[in-house]
Amino acid sequence: MATTTTKPETLVGKRLRRREDPRLITGTATYVDDIKMPGMHYAAILRSPHAAANIRSIDTSKAASHKGVLAVFTGKDTHDAGAVPCGASLPGLRVPDHRVLATDRVYYVGHPVAVVVAIDRYVAADAADLIEVDWEVLPAVADPEKALAPGAPAVHPQWPDNTAFVFNQEGGEVDKAFAEADVIVKQRITSQRLVPNPMETRGVVADYRAAERALTLFTSTQAPHLVRSLVAQILGLDENRLRVVAPEVGGGFGCKIDTYAEEILMAYVAMKVNKPVKWIESRRENFLCTIHGRGHVDFYEIAATKDGTITGIKVKIIQDLGAFLSLLTPAIPTLSVLMLPGLYRTRSIRAEVVGAFTNCVATDAYRGAGRPEATHGIERMIDLLAAELKMDPAEIRLKNFVHNDEFPFPTATGLVYDSGDYAAPLKKAMEMANYDELRREQAEARKSGKLMGIGLCTYGEISAFGPSPATPAGGWESATVKIDPSGTVTVLTGTSPHGQGEETTFAQIAADELGVDIDNILVSHGDTSLVQYGIGTFGSRSTAVGGTALYFALQDLKAKIKKFGGMLLESNDVTFSGGQCVCNLSGKSVSVKEIAFASYRAMKLPPDTHPGLVATHFWEPPNFTFPFGAHLVVTDIDPETGAISIRRYIAVDDCGNILNPLIVDGQVHGGVAQGLGQALWEQAVYDDNGQLITGEFMDYAMPRAHMMPWIESAHTVTPTPVNPLGVKGVGEAGTIGASPAVVNSVVDALAPLGVKHIDMPMTPEKIWMLVRGGKN
């Protein structure tokens, strides 16, 4: 750590309970739906019931005349609003024109068609039901492989091949690696579409003050400044008169990075009706209209020598994009490509990504965003290779890891891995599990026909997004630290935490650096009128990038504190430590509080110094960080029911230095739950007509308390040299590590039956069929 280690009160590294919790556990936090304003009206959105249809006509007259209705808008009314933005670009990318309301055609079930503004939410919903649309239903395609097949219905008539882009990346000598390989293993591997499902759905309150030309948008987002810039641009507003506030945000997991049609639409509508307007997404709408994650069909080939050295990897990725490109949609599978080397020394990699339009809601960033898909593929392929070579899955991994003396390690996909000891978490997990004994137990169990599996995943990830050239909209982060005349400290961060606990961890950093009581520190975020600019919270970046910006802002502020301290002590030789400026000659000291008062009173200023104690730092990271870890899962399969029982779940994660172990554990647990959800239960299922079959919690199997195993979490610590805090990021690690570990475990359990691969989710029905002899 960069903090002084001599101070006994150091808070960084302590298992502190969170400072944001009092409002959460008392029900007094303010989420978007808790905001009420005088004269506020409610919006309800009429959405397409069809995946593909022409709109012959819309009759809004009954809705408009319904008692309590203020206004009704259709796509014809809102055509002057700009398009819903896609912020990612690829060579030759086809970007469909994505309007805030459909005009003459709809492209997925849930596509917004009209909006009603009314006196309350019941009246708004009643009136939306009174809108009559004359539909001409068209053939739809909801499966990416079917969409790419000749003769498939065209999602966008102008692009009959349903191909948004083809992206190729290659490094090393792939053809040579495959020509000279002793063994080549091939497998089709899918990562099914998932619904992010934060417990708080999206929601917007738009408040327009015409006389001031001032619009305030309260929105449940992970990136309020981005929303401000984009909505201002789309609606032609002055950015300095648009205030975006992310109040308490009830989870995001990536799906609240995007700027959505509804955010633009509510801003537009509020300006038209001159009243504050609230829209709260229903859970059904959230399933249909908020982005989904994953949606991969991948064709892997792995080449190796007979001693198990991996020499090359080839993959063709079919990415289900949905009908429109949301903010980062086309960028997500390119992250999968970057991740393909995993933790291994393989220097020859070739990837082709085909982006397929389907009549579904867009896919985009969901916890891990491209990295779980790639990790799942690679970690499955390594197990398949191990099985082919009759090697132990741990042995083959240990053989291929990047060596500790090879960092910084340049990969075949153009990254430079920062630091690592890749064998350490695997060895620790194996020790915790007593791996050799487990294998002996498994051998015994197999003799009596019992189905017991041991699965490994050794993952790497790209975190701390990231260097600006590699991150759409910028990858830096900002922090401001202010000390008031009375000595209280305010930290403003450009990150936008929504459950990750930075109000605590950032206060820990500031308390240590300034030597002040943590109770004197307030950490604020999420309001563009408060924070000058910021990027937001996603991609395991907040602490590694935002925390580092804070660290540097604190250094700037400390330099100023020392100047004022020196002036007050009439000394050029002062040390600042433990909240005191001490003259090294006289031993006299002044506190931060006294210095703060003097800096604002400004009776006398040190040379070249301005009044006040404020520092702002924008920090651009020189690289990503690369966390890593090993998950080990022991499963037992009930052959009678196909039920999978997880006996042990061991997660050893290396996220660099740990600022607050309690919070890090929580991130790992939650991440693992989402990875297990993908491995075992969750799937967004569209039928052939593009209807979302799993469109409610009744049908979409969210992990619940009784379904989750106990997670044994442990860590190795390899600080990153990328930032002075040495932190790498932990938000997505659990999700990335979990799904391959569980699938590998279940495949291992069923290996005696000849099973080599199982696609997710591994439902009991699927397992039962495999046990009964059907091959997946």
Partner: protein, 154 residues
């Protein structure tokens, strides 16, 4: 319809539409912010409150059905500023991340130990199965319920 109910110790009377859900009554009419709406289909538990001593999902009940009832929400758990032991346990054990499921989760957790002061981990997990949390993986919530049970001295 005119209804009168007691919410967190205070009497509330209003003329409401028969179709008004209790959760909408609590939030839109009575002005509470603690019970949350996660699904409106009785599947997520974010709106869990106590009605006459039983934890119920307040989106599964009409306001008129609560006429005459005594309702306790998360806002009513702390007494004179002193947190309920379940709230304290959620804080100590990091049972909340984004906090959206938390009020319902605490109300459901309170009922678990009200009914069974010394629940096993399995009993806790089954007691929580009606409440979805997307952030925590439930482990710290389970720890919180265990800690609260222990604090009861059972």
């Amino acid at each position: 319809m005119n209804i009168t109910l007691n919410i967190n110790g205070k009497s509330h009377s209003h003329d409401v539409e028969p179709r008004l859900l209790l959760i909408h009554y609590l939030r839109e009419v009575a002005g509470l912010t603690g019970p949350h709406i996660g699904c409106e289909t009785s599947l997520c538990g974010a709106c869990t409150v106590e009605v006459d001593g039983r934890a119920i999902k307040s989106c599964t009940m009409f306001a008129v059905q609560a006429n005459g009832a005594s309702v306790v929400t998360i806002e009513g758990l702390a007494v004179n500023g002193k947190l309920h032991k379940m709230q304290e346990a959620f804080w100590n054990e990091h049972g909340a991340q984004c906090g959206f499921c938390t009020p319902g989760m605490i109300m459901a957790s309170k009922q678990i130990i009200d009914r069974n002061p010394n629940p096993t981990e399995t009993e806790i997990r089954h007691g929580l199965e009606g409440n979805i949390c997307r952030c925590t993986g439930y482990q710290h919530i389970v720890n919180a319920v265990k800690a609260a049970a222990k604090a009861t001295g059972a």
